[in-house]
């Protein structure tokens, strides 16, 4: 082993690529930095050229503005409510179905599972017309129900949690059954607690997804007070008001919870995103 080899990681190529990757990673965050600092500038400074790279006179008036002159508080509540309820429902019905597909046997199981899984790739946006019609028929336009139910129809929860159930030993379930616990109790008290990490990952991923949903929420929540934060914020953009600072404040408010969630739960994202994809 006298060969004079270069250890990977020390090659010039590797060093150059890492500089490039790091540079772009920082550059990639610049738009968010610009969003944040712009939201703290007054309406004159925000369009001043050459710009202040660091805001000089920091003001919170833009935030006061969107919370006082726009129903941003109501929008935030709507977003929280819709995302939370949708996600709880996705987790509950997804976990039930995933459990059945993983641990129980019933005729047609595989076919139904395949149909569920094939629907994963189909975005609800492309059937937005009939979806709107049925929502309207149910009288759910401008209601939370209309915003929530179509988000619950995803099979993503089933798909993800089945992976977690598959990893739990079936012996546990059998033991519980022998001890006389019914299927429902076994599910709730034995199996669900074991797959907590999976539930956590699903919860966060789904919450973020519904929070960031746009087209559907825009169509269903037409009244100003029924808009979600994303939709409400976007309407600020289309406002004739030339003051960009308060629009940036709105966008920052919409982004902030997601930034916090990401910082707190980074691990779950990697887990959740890769759960469905990276399996050899």
């Amino acid at each position: 082993m006298m060969r004079n080899r270069i250890r990977p990681g020390r090659e010039p190529y590797d060093m150059v690529t890492n500089v490039i990757v790091t540079f772009f990673a920082i550059l990639n965050l610049f738009p968010l930095y610009w969003l944040w600092t712009s939201s703290l500038k007054n309406s004159a400074d925000v369009v001043k050229m050459p710009p202040d790279w660091f805001p000089k006179d920091i003001t919170f008036s833009n935030y006061v503005d969107i919370f006082q002159n726009q129903p941003a508080l109501r929008w935030t509540f709507n977003s929280l409510y819709v995302s939370f309820v949708s996600t709880v429902l996705v987790v509950i019905i997804g976990a039930m179905a995933a459990y059945a597909f993983s641990k129980l046997t019933f005729p047609g199981q595989n076919v139904i599972f395949i149909i569920f899984i094939s629907s994963l790739m189909i975005p609800k946006e492309i059937m937005i017309v009939p979806l709107f019609q049925i929502t309207q028929d149910f009288g759910l336009i401008n209601s939370y129900g209309g915003m929530i139910w179509p988000n619950v129809a995803t099979a993503f929860g089933v798909f993800m949690l089945k992976g977690f159930f598959d990893q739990t030993p079936s012996a546990l379930r059998e033991a519980s059954r022998i001890d006389g616990a019914g299927e429902w109790r076994t599910f709730l008290q034995i199996m669900l607690p074991i797959i907590k990490p999976g539930i956590g990952a699903l919860f966060i991923l789904n919450f973020v997804q519904v929070w960031n949903d746009y087209l559907w929420q825009m169509i269903v929540g037409q009244e100003k007070n029924m808009k979600t934060l994303m939709v409400g914020t976007a309407t600020l953009m289309q406002d004739m008001n030339p003051n960009f600072a308060y629009k940036m404040a709105g966008a920052f408010v919409a982004a902030l919870p997601m930034l916090l969630i990401f910082i707190l739960f980074q691990r779950y994202f990697t887990q959740g995103i890769t759960a469905g994809a990276v399996k050899e």
Partner: protein, 290 residues
């Protein structure tokens, strides 16, 4: 004869999938079928008239639809190539570095994905604003003169493609890094012993090993691009002169602005068929794993 115990288990199985089944049928399966049906009708408010495939025929004769189709195709190809290429580049450079650095890289590329296309579109719209945007200012400083990247037929698509790519590439990077970390170490060690360079290692070991991830990323990106809407609505509204109109935007306009529900449904059906065909390879892998 099946024992009552087995029958009971079957019944329990059905009970457990029932709630999922109900929402699935109501808000997914039914809309798909209804979409097919509506695409064969001319729909005005509450009156419906069966017209067969006329909606589809009129689509083929609509230059805006053809433009939207072409734009979507360009979009898909560019985004997929950029995303796969760049994500492979990033992941292959960082996957074997220390955990803190990897998590920094992952995080900084993923944060724009997190904060959503709506917020990112708003920021880019601000940055690109011809009179007061930072990018326009920097272009003037560089002596390029007054530019309006979004108002120009030639630059509008590249700019939107870039914005979409920059916002979404983080997910592909996470997937690739995870896949590369999962490659058995002995493969790489053997190569190391043989003294291969990093470039060779990337080409001959890393990239082939993550092929299934590449397929997955390609498919999810095609589907994500197909439904692209926000960035078009907030940045250009499909303009200038339909230069940036996409299928999804076209569908939305027909449905909710022009009240052409039949036509919009036909576009939806076309997109549904494309999506379904695209997801077959992915479906195969998922089922093989099973």
């Amino acid at each position: 004869m099946k024992s009552p115990r087995i029958l009971k288990e079957h019944l329990t199985g059905y009970l457990f999938i029932t709630p999922q089944m109900i929402v699935f049928l109501l808000f997914l399966v039914y809309p798909i079928m209804e979409g097919f049906r509506m695409s064969l009708y001319q729909i005005q408010y509450s009156s419906e008239k069966f017209i067969g495939f006329d909606n589809y025929i009129s689509l083929l004769n609509d230059p805006v639809f053809l433009q939207a189709f072409f734009n979507t195709l360009v979009f898909v190809v560019c985004i997929v190539v950029l995303t796969v290429g760049f994500a492979l580049f990033v992941a292959s450079s960082v996957f074997d570095k220390n955990a803190k650095y990897v998590s920094f890289i992952r995080g900084s590329y993923y944060i724009p994905v997190m904060v959503s296309m709506v917020v990112m579109s708003m920021i880019w719209s601000f940055l690109l604003n011809p009179s007061s945007g930072l990018i326009s200012y920097l272009a003037r400083e560089q002596g390029i003169g007054n530019i309006n990247l979004l108002g120009n037929k030639i630059t509008v698509m590249p700019v939107i493609i870039f914005v979409t790519f920059a916002t979404n590439v983080g997910q592909a990077i996470i997937l690739y890094i995870a896949a590369m970390i999962g490659i058995p170490k002995d493969l790489m060690e053997a190569a190391e012993v043989d003294g291969v360079s990093r470039v060779q290692m990337i080409r001959h070991i890393l990239i082939p090993s993550v092929q299934s991830t590449t397929v997955y990323i390609t498919i999810i990106n095609i589907i994500a691009v197909l439904k692209i809407f926000v960035v078009i609505q907030l940045l250009t509204g499909g303009g200038p002169n339909n230069a940036s109109v996409t299928l999804m935007y076209y569908l939305y306009n027909n449905a909710f602005k022009f009240n052409q529900l039949g036509v919009a449904s036909a576009v939806g059906v076309i997109m549904f068929v494309i999506t379904l065909l695209l997801s077959i390879p992915q479906l195969r892998t998922v089922l093989r794993v099973k």
